[in-house]
Each structure stands twice: as C-alpha cells, then as structure tokens.
C-alpha cells in the first residue's frame, strides 16, 4: 500500500494505492484522482510548462506547455529542449510551437496570444 497526495487539483486528496491489487486507488474523490494514483505508481507523468524565445513582439518570451502530460523522467530533457525553440509573433494560444517534444508524442503549444 502506497500513500500519495493527489496533484490533479488543489484539493490534494490523500490517496492509497494498493500495488498488490492492480493498483486499486482509494481516498480519491474523482475519477481523475484514480487515474493519477495508478499512473503515479506505474508510469508517473507531468505537464511541463515554461517559456520559449519570442521574436517580433514587445515581449521577449512566449509561455508554453505540453498539450498533455509527458513521462516524469523526461522532464529535465524536455525542459532543456525548450531552449532550442524560437517562435515568431503573432502567436495564438494553442499554436504548436514544437511537435512531438523529445519523442514523447506530445506537442508543445503556446499558452498566450501575442501580437506583433
């Protein structure tokens, strides 16, 4: 039995995951908590956020995120990959600024609309 704090939402539910019983999750108050609890034992994932260089606008950086979670162990490598990305204004929230970040199959997208 492993005890975890759920990070899916600010409630921070205290989950108990039974590794011996197919990672059965208790203590969650929503289905996403169950998914988190399972994932955290089997293959933990995180959403990466950060900024990339922006050209052609008064702001020097464009905030970005991975469209979905990526394997937790990929976080350092993926964070480093962000420094090789340059975007040109205009950029719209949701625009893909880098496809398939570090072979995760997950795209990196802009999270702010910035006009030139």
């Amino acid at each position: 039995m492993k005890e975890l704090i759920c990070i899916v939402c600010p409630n921070g539910c205290r989950l108990r995951v039974d590794e011996k019983n197919g990672c059965r999750v208790t203590g969650n108050s929503c289905p996403r908590g169950e998914e988190y609890g399972k994932n955290e034992i089997l293959h933990p994932v995180r959403v990466l956020t950060g900024t990339v260089r922006l050209h052609g606008a008064s702001l020097p950086r464009c905030p970005v995120k991975t469209r979905g979670p990526i394997p937790k162990e990929k976080l350092p490598e993926a964070a480093r990959a962000l420094c090789r990305v340059d975007v040109e204004a205009p950029v719209q929230t949701g625009d893909v600024v880098l496809a398939d970040l570090c072979g995760t199959g997950v795209d990196l997208v802009a999270t702010r609309t910035i006009l030139p």
């Binding site: 900024t51 964070a79 962000l82 420094c83």
Partner: protein, 478 residues
C-alpha cells in the same frame, strides 16, 4: 595639474566640492565607490542636530550650529528635502534630568537658540505617543531632518555643473610628492594637484598614511536601524532622542523626509565596511526604542540597514593640514554631527587652504540652483504640462512612491547619473517604498539597461559585482 583634489565624495567631500566650485579653481573629486554618498552619508539617522550635544570648545561645537543654519539655505537652493521638525531629548530618571541640564547649558554656550526644558506632561502634549515614564524633556526647535544622500548629491551635482570633475569607482592607491604638489594614483590614471583634501570617511586614516605619518586612527562604529512603513511615519513629529552616552546619542525615533519612521542606531565597534545587521543589534534597537515611544509597531518594518560612523581616536573632527605633509588637508573623524556640520567643515577647510596660499577668486557665472521633478508632489495641472511634453511622466513605475518613468530618465541625464538600481532609488525614490522594489525593480532594471545601452545583466544592484541577473534562462544548459 589641478588646484585641488578632494578624495571622497560623501557629504563632506561634496560640501567641499560645492564650496570650492564657486571659485576659479581646477577641481577634481575622486570617489572609490560607484556613486556619491555611498558610505556613511547614505546610512545614518538623517538628522541635522541642533548643536547642544558637543562639548563647548570643540570643533564639533563650533561647526554644528552654523552648519545647520547653512544646511537650511543650501537645501532650499538645491531642492533637497528638508524639514525643521525640532527634537526632544527625554529624561527617565534623576540622572537623565541632570544630563538634560548639562545639554541645555552646553547648547546655550554653543549658541543653540530656543532650547527649553519641558515637563513630562508638556512633552507628551507635544508628542502624545511618548512613554508615560518620561519625566522631563529638552526641546530643541532648530533640529531638522534631511535626505542625506540627496543633500550630498545636490552639492556634488552643483559642483560638477560649475566645472568640478568627478571620477567615480576611482579609489586612490598611491599618493606621491611631485614638486610642491601631489601625484595621486588610481585605476583610472594618475591625477596631479597642488592641494589635497582627504575626505575619505572610514578610510581617511588609510588615505592619509599613503603619504603621511599616521597621527590619527579611524575607529569605525556600526549603527543598526529600522526603517518603518509610512503607516508609522506620523507616530512622532519630532526627532525623539534619549540621553547620550559616551558611545553615541542613543536610540532615536524620528520621522524621515520621505514620510517613514526611522528607529536606531546601535553603536558597536566594527570593520569600516561592515554594514551588516545582526539579530542582537536589531533586538537592542527595538528594546531601547520602545522606552521612548512604546507604540512603535516594528511589524511595519520595510527595511533594516546599518551604517558605519567614521569616528576617530581624537574624539573631535580633525580639520587640519597634515603636520608632515604641507598641502595635504585632513577632513577626518567626521562622525555625528558631521552631516549637520558639513557646510561649515567645507568653509573651515577652504579657509585653511586659503591661508596656505590657495587663491580664491569668485566666479561670476556660479550656478547655485538645482531643481528636480517630484511627480507625486505636483498638482494635476503641473503634471499634465509635464506629460504633454513627455508622456513618460504619465507612466508610474514605482507604485508605492508614485515615481514615473520620466523622473527616472531625467535622473539618468543629470550631471551625476546613477549606474545601479540603488543609485536610481536614492535619486528618485523608486523602490524605497513598502514593496522595496518587488514590483518596480525589474522595470527600473529594464529602463536603466535601455538608457545606458547595456544588457539588463550588466545593471548591478549597487557596486560592480552586485549583479542581479546571471544571464538568459536555461543558459546553464546551452
């Protein structure tokens, strides 16, 4: 070849430069730090003392009272925040009461006007926040508060405007005889002059020893302070002292010209550069201050700081030609009331130089005025006139003190522009308020970098090496 080199641009060096710049002289000021007023001048109680404290017969006694009178004139001419608040010295017991009588007698001898003793109740009628334990108080109506760094800056700027040369980040490393004059070596080259004024503050003994045999020693003594939010700024309306002891004038509680409350200082022997705060020192300030004004709310603190007094082993100001080095004049051991006496210290040294042959011919074109924009003090009509001419006066950068981008740009174009975030703070007040630059710091940095044409990383907090940014994000990985 210059006529005079002044070493050090604290308030004493600045006052000397200001005084001498009215004469037809070739004048150079060498300052070791990257800004004027960077040592003792920027970290003290910001008080112009009435003059009852020094022992009659001393230089301190002779120069304090007249110095404070001149300071009022200079502040008016050069647009320096100044307020004649008056001061009270409090007595809590018999010993203190006899001390008040000593101070009263000294003050009268020193020529301080308007001094009188108040009963505890009379004192509390003037200052309702005073402790109920106060038995008696000495009122000195001529005491004042000032912005010490703007005072020094204004005098230095005026000297520069009148032709004095100022070199910052220019520490003196050697002084040699050259005929009957001097050669002064610095990282920025060798300067030559007929006379030298040593106004090097806590380092005055070291500077003197570069050429002369040691005949005084600086005994630096640190004082720690609290600077409280403006919400505490009206807790008292006068400078509130306790009875002085041999180490200093005790802990004071005073309004500042910026509207804050200053509380301190301690007095402990220290290194000349040791401006750190200590838990014990701060505790001591709190414990002593509440004796005078029990209601001070230290949780409203916005900043602690410490300054180092440039006291000497002689116990009085040292204003003299070095005995073994003709033409080399010391302005040393300038501890309290040095800020108060700065203009008369300058007068005294000018007279000494003249005695030794320096020709003083007044300039007709001497500029003796200075003005700067203080947006938050203007009415809307004046503000709109400014904004119409330059819209940057409409952009508030420091929200706590209402300082605009226009004022920051203006200070960068003044005769002595700042090269650091704190330099901007001292000149226009951006970052001096309750958020302590939390919001405006990054924006001031951006403006400073843009105007100086350097990357933001090259803008320091204070001296070179006090960098704020280390480069681009993720640079560690590229």
């Amino acid at each position: 070849m210059q006529d005079v080199i002044i070493i050090g641009c604290g308030v004493v060096g600045a006052a000397c430069a200001y005084r001498l710049s009215r004469f037809r002289l070739r004048l150079t000021v060498l300052e070791a730090l990257s800004d004027v007023a960077g040592g003792t001048t920027k970290a003290n109680s910001a008080i112009l003392h009435a003059g009852y404290d020094p022992e009659p017969g001393t230089l301190m006694a002779r120069l304090n009272v007249e110095g404070v009178r001149l300071a009022e004139e200079i502040c008016a001419k050069l647009d320096v925040p100044y307020r004649k608040t008056g001061s009270l010295v409090l007595a809590f017991d018999e010993k203190d009461r006899s001390c008040l009588r000593t101070l009263l007698a000294r003050g009268e001898k020193n020529g301080v006007t308007g001094l009188h003793l108040l009963s505890g109740d009379e004192a509390r009628a003037l200052e309702p926040e005073l402790s109920g334990e106060v038995q008696e108080a000495l009122l000195a109506p001529s005491a004042a508060i000032v912005n010490p760094w703007e005072y020094a800056l204004a005098m230095a700027e005026t000297a520069v405007r009148n032709g004095a040369e100022l070199h910052l980040s220019c520490p003196v490393t050697a002084i040699t005889r050259e005929g009957d004059g001097f050669a002064v070596t610095t990282p920025k080259g060798v300067f030559h002059s007929q006379y030298i004024i040593n106004a090097a503050g806590v380092h005055a003994d070291n500077v003197h020893e570069l050429i002369g045999k040691k005949n005084f020693t600086i005994r630096p003594a640190k004082g720690e302070y609290y600077l409280l939010d403006k919400s505490e700024g009206t807790r008292v309306s006068r400078v509130i002292f306790q009875c002085p002891d041999p180490k200093g004038k005790g802990v004071l509680v005073s309004p500042t010209v910026h509207g804050n409350l200053i509380v301190g200082p301690t007095a402990e022997p220290s290194g000349p550069e040791d401006t750190s705060n200590t838990a014990q020192g701060l505790q001591k300030v709190r414990d002593l201050a509440v004796r005078s004004v029990p209601g001070v709310r230290f949780r409203e603190n916005i900043r602690n700081f410490a300054g180092v007094r440039a006291s000497s082993d002689r116990g009085d100001f040292i204003l003299e030609e070095s005995p073994a080095v003709p033409g080399f004049f010391n302005a040393a051991g300038i501890c309290s009331p040095g800020l108060s006496a700065a203009p008369t210290i300058a007068d005294e040294l000018t007279a000494l130089l003249a005695e030794k042959g320096l020709a003083l011919e007044e300039k007709e074109e001497f500029i003796d005025t200075r003005r700067r924009v203080r947006f938050h003090e203007l009415d809307d009509g004046a503000r709109n006139a400014l904004i119409a001419a330059d819209p940057r006066y409409g952009r508030v950068i420091c929200r706590c003190e209402t300082v605009t981008e226009g004022e920051i740009i203006a200070c960068l174009r003044a005769p002595i522009p700042p090269a650091s975030i704190n330099g901007v703070k001292r000149r226009v007040g951006a970052g001096m308020g309750r958020c302590q630059g939390g919001f405006c710091g990054p924006r001031v940095q951006e403006i400073l970098a843009r105007e100086l044409g350097v990357p933001p990383e090259a803008v320091p907090l204070e001296e070179p090496g006090s960098y704020i940014l280390t480069g681009e994000t993720k640079e560690a990985w590229t």
